[in-house]
Amino acid sequence: MIRLIGRRVLLTVPTLLGVLVVAFLLLQVAPGDPVTAMVGERADSATIARLRAELHLDDPLPVRFGHYVWGVVRGNLGRSYITQRPIAQDLRERFPKTAQLALAAMALAAACGITLGVLSAVRPGGAFDRLAMLASYVGVSFPVYWVGLLLILLFAVALRWLPPAGSGGLAYLVLPAVTLGMRSIAFLARMTRAAMLDVLSSDFIRTARAKGLSEGRVVLRHGFRNALIPVITVLGLDTGNYLTGSILTETIFGWPGLGRYVLAAIEKRDLPAVQGSILFMSLVFVAVNLVTDLCYAKADPRIAYD
């Protein structure tokens, strides 16, 4: 296990370097200029030229990339061109908010999605199964934007049970977590159901039943445990996605997370902020993948990594 972790951590270095190169080059190719956002709607060419020079925007590409990588290696993500704040501090402020929303959405998705999937698989084709699968079909199909606004109109404006937007206590978390988690609930339910159906028709399940085990024990201990692998895959992927920010949900609910931060940085061509965020997100993704792999090994000891 330790060797596995060590090797994965080492592999992270070339991954991150690749991410840095791609992010850097893409931002160079994209039209737009960070200085236009710094000077506002009315400026003179002399100021623009001076700012470009001060930010080394006119230096050759390899030189600029070298400078940036050297900064990153020393643990310095630089300062935003626009706000002049340190990028690392910005990320430190946003990430806990994003993590809070992501974990809430995933907890909700895991609890509801897996339950729905398992219950559907117990009696495939039954009334519950059909209803649950219809609901999950609808859940996968509805756009996040539309669901978010509908939830706000219903629970915040009409019923006044929950605040429409902002961040704070638990009440603020409910609507964005449901909005964000809904697709995962639906997807997980379908995934769990399919995996369970597959497993429940295996020989060892018949054996377990023949031994006289209760149906609950058969389904949960023997069936579910063996159906876990695809479920963990989906959980891991979605967690990785959500932990790196969810632009639509954060925008609708005014949630101060990473997604909005990156979007604003891209809109203003705030190069250090975009690069720093992408680097950070890649790190998060790599970490989530590592945890997912460890979960595989835990769920199914047959999976050997060496």
Binding site: G40, R42, D44, R94, P96, L103, I152, E267
Partner: protein
């Protein structure tokens, strides 16, 4: 696995249970406003956009200021005199002004604060309101170590020597970028501002909210409310929901919802013409658009009143010139280009384009209303033979292309920085303002140039206004734009909010008179 699950849950509980949001409480002494995105900074030197400028206006003062109707008022300076035929301004400072940290405002503070805005090390990018001062541009470019044009006179006056007479200079000093910060500034001025303004900074959660408390010792009298919460809410429909849930004091009515709000909440609505103009810049140096007849044809081919009424919710006044009606120098009686497709076709044919022309029109997705207007313009230009390709860009690349002159047409709006016709002529039509300076139409006319410069130097107001009218008329006939309209702002104000009116210029609302009373019986202001 179990350990992981437990820590994840613990983290979730820990992060969700601490503190209730600032938007939650609704005490009567609190007002709640919003911005659509997080301000850049709270450092006046960095105020290059509207949210930053509005927030700087709460915590800081300039030597002068605008009220909600954009009248120029004294602020840190209680009066000023003009000498040397308009080349020298002497500002007399109030003697009772203190910063939020208790330090006294002195003329030396004013001088050092303005030098900091100009200093290349500040990287502000928007020091142009100070450039008329002798020596300022050299200092900003790093060619000089001082600005001789800013002088401290005695213990209560600051004098400015300008490179040439400039009638609008006192208005430049009301812009957020020239607001006065302590000198030397506190270590983190941009994050924890210390100003002289009516609102004292309390907290800033980025992308979430800013919180201000009233500055009890404000020279202009403490604000009527105790606290002002400014939330960051990017989505218009969410903002509307927040207002309807009673959690915002005021709200700009979303464009798509204009009719519904007029019908459902007429008693809450307030409306006022803004110092803003919406137009399509026609690139006067490119292709068929070089011909004035083609540009006039475009103005005849588009049914602007219809687009205004249908696409823009009727929230505007038709533009027959670039100077908004509220400003001296505008001419509301001017004969405009009437909607007349046959005339448009005739003009096109006369210009040698009887078989039509192909043009691109740039729009950007972050301004949905203007993007829709662009579509309507495209549809109306088609029948007269002007085939328009809509090009959708994001705001940054649209601006870059337009500034470089690489576009045929681009739909834009122009917000006043200072309430003066000069702000709608010098940046937009002076040939020295090409591209980044604001002249996106690349309109160039030597006589217009000389008239604009003469108006800037003219100190007699009546003569200046007459010049503005003449310039606007001359430019209008040359049709460098497709003239659209001057927007009217439509806001909803909660029934219990008093003493707040729509500012016609973005930094004209300081929230000092605003307060919350009972909806039915307006509370009398206290002693």
């Amino acid at each position: 696995m179990r350990a992981l699950r437990v820590t994840a849950l613990a983290a979730l509980v820990a992060t969700t249970s601490c503190g209730s949001g600032p938007g939650g409480r609704a005490d009567s002494a609190r007002l709640t406003y919003y911005e659509t995105y997080d301000p850049r900074s709270l450092d006046p030197a960095l105020s290059t956009d509207v949210p930053t400028g509005e927030m700087v206006t709460l915590a800081f003062d300039g030597l002068t200021q605008f009220d909600a109707d954009a009248r120029l008022l004294p602020a840190l300076a209680d009066r000023w005199t003009v000498e040397g035929g308009g080349r020298r301004y002497v500002f007399h400072l109030r003697t009772d002004v203190r910063f939020h940290d208790g330090t006294r405002l002195t003329p030396a503070t004013v001088r050092r604060s303005l030098l900091r805005v100009l200093s290349p090390a500040t990287r502000g990018g928007r020091a142009w309101p100070l450039y008329p001062i002798a020596g300022a541009e050299d200092y900003a470019a790093g060619r000089a170590s001082d600005v001789p044009g800013i002088q401290v006179l005695g213990d209560s006056c600051v004098a400015f020597d300008l490179t040439q007479p400039l009638a609008v200079f006192p208005k430049f000093l009301a812009m957020p970028v020239t607001a006065i910060a302590p000198a030397p500034p506190p270590p983190d001025l941009g994050q924890r501002p210390v100003g002289t303004g009516p609102w004292r900074f309390v907290a800033w959660q980025h992308d979430d909210y800013l919180l201000f408390a009233k500055h009890a010792g404000y020279w202009g009298g403490a604000p009527a409310a105790d606290t002002l919460l400014v939330r960051i809410l990017p989505e218009p429909l969410t903002r509307a929901a927040e207002f309807e849930a009673g959690r915002l004091s005021v709200l700009e009515v979303p464009f798509g919802e204009t009719a519904r709000w007029r019908q459902r909440h007429p008693e809450l609505l307030v409306e006022k013409p803004a110092l803003r103009v919406v137009y399509v810049a026609l690139n006067n140096r490119r292709g068929p658009l070089r011909d004035v007849r083609v540009r006039q044809a475009i103005n005849h081919a588009v049914n602007v009143p219809e687009i205004l009424a249908t696409v823009y919710g009727g929230r505007g006044i038709l533009a027959r010139g670039a100077i908004p009606p509220a400003l001296p120098g505008s001419d509301t009686a001017r004969a405009g280009y009437r909607y007349d497709p046959p005339e448009a076709k005739r003009l096109l044919a006369a210009a040698g384009y009887a078989s039509g022309i192909d043009l691109q029109l740039l729009r950007n997705a972050s301004n949905i209303e203007l993007a829709r207007v662009a579509q309507a313009v495209q549809a109306q230009l088609g029948p007269v033979g002007i085939r328009v390709e809509l090009v959708e860009r994001d705001a940054s690349s649209q601006r870059e292309a337009a500034r470089a002159g690489r576009t045929d047409m681009v739909i834009l709006d122009w917000w006043a920085d200072y309430p003066d016709a000069d702000n709608f002529l010098y940046p937009l039509f002076y040939s020295g303002s090409f591209g980044p300076g604001g002249n996106y139409a690349f309109y160039s006319d030597p006589l217009t140039d000389s008239l604009i410069l003469r108006a800037r130097r003219t100190t007699d107001d009546a003569a200046r206004v007459a010049l503005y009218r003449q310039i606007d008329e001359r430019v209008y006939r040359a049709a460098p734009w497709l003239y659209l309209w001057f927007p009217k702002d439509l806001w909803a104000r909660r029934a219990d909010v008093r003493g707040w009116e729509i500012p016609v210029i973005f930094n004209g609302q300081r929230w000092t008179g605003a307060r919350r009373g009972s909806a039915g019986h307006p509370r009398l202001p206290g002693p």
